[in-house]
Symmetry: C2
Subunit: 212 residues, 2 copies
Amino acid sequence: MQMNERSVAPRMGRQPLTTRAALSHAALQLFLERGFEQTTVDDIASAAGIGRRTLFRYFPSKNDLPWGDFEAELARMRAFLAATDATMSVVDALAAAVIEFNRFPPEEVPYHRERMNLLLNVPALVAHSTLRYAEWRRVVSDFAAGRLGVAVDAIEPTVIGWVFLGASLAAYEQWLRTNDSDLIELLESALVLLREGFAPGRSPSVEPGGRT
Amino acid sequence: MQMNERSVAPRMGRQPLTTRAALSHAALQLFLERGFEQTTVDDIASAAGIGRRTLFRYFPSKNDLPWGDFEAELARMRAFLAATDATMSVVDALAAAVIEFNRFPPEEVPYHRERMNLLLNVPALVAHSTLRYAEWRRVVSDFAAGRLGVAVDAIEPTVIGWVFLGASLAAYEQWLRTNDSDLIELLESALVLLREGFAPGRSPSVEPGGRT
DNA sequence: CAGACTAGTGGCACTCAGTGCCGAAAAAGA
DNA sequence: TCTTTTTCGGCACTGAGTGCCACTAGTCTG
């Protein structure tokens, strides 16, 4: 077989000049320096040493650049969910997956933070993010539907998708607002609110006058 | 005082040629006929008999046209919430407000349905909607924070905002998928899932193998 | 090695959304 | 009539995104 020798250039045709990751990184750099709106696609392309036309072959829009390879992240999450114990409750499994999905090596945390700061604050990116979140919700509701034995478009999987997304984003917003908080802890407390906070009489935190 | 005589033209300067409502309606008409992407802003402007430049004074973007006067809707909801009995639980009050917010006179239902069909299916509109939803969530979390006596940016009001939005949109998605369903009923069942479905051991619907 | 084949590149021209500028139009008031 | 106020809309410009197409840099075959 000796494929190793060809691993550098295993296929025909011209080699790509760059990668999605490199472009995403270069773009993020510029967005942080000058701001998202102040950076044109031309700026990014020339910073990365490629043509503007080429950039649009790597990413369908300027808005997609900060997301990098989100599809791969989703695949990771899907795999994690598929591997959970089938006797685990759907909510437990999803809670574990959400935590896992958002765990990053410590050295990447500051980078991730700046990225999420852009995604959750720049209006154009906030808007565009919805499309990515829809794919994320799809992973969640596909899993829920499978485990519950109902159709994906039934109301339970749909609500579950929305509600887990909501809890995750609430935790992210909280994380970005504070300086030294731990994302995982915030996710856990948001998920606790989901599981216990909305049942009447279970938690005083959502009763009038209540406190945490 | 006799302001009545001037009610037709109570202020100085040239009279507006049209209204936000009329433009929103004209645009929606075209979007339904040819599709959102296939309709240019020029098309809408000339259909409404105004200049393109003028249209952008009524609406900040093409994406805003289908929303009409959403700010007024939000004000209605805020007023409803403010008028709720202070002894009512936050979740009860919000559930009632969500139902009220989405009640429409029967003759407007088909129109509302087509409008929501666009908003929830055209990618550009789906993305843009996020910004409107953020304002909606703000109304919810402002109310929750006030009643709970916590800061608006605490985690509980944030999660509550997200989760009620999620439940509402799940109901909408369900409504649009089926032909003869009742939006209010769907909202109610989504809210039931919120309140009872996520507490362990309370509902079999989110346990493995469970059904509805 | 020449030519065929394949895949990535990027220039050019175009469409369309959105904006700044500014003069014209339409109303009210003195 | 002249001034003030407000809306209108043309013009020109920026910037994202797309279709087209020739070019480049590789591999493969004879």
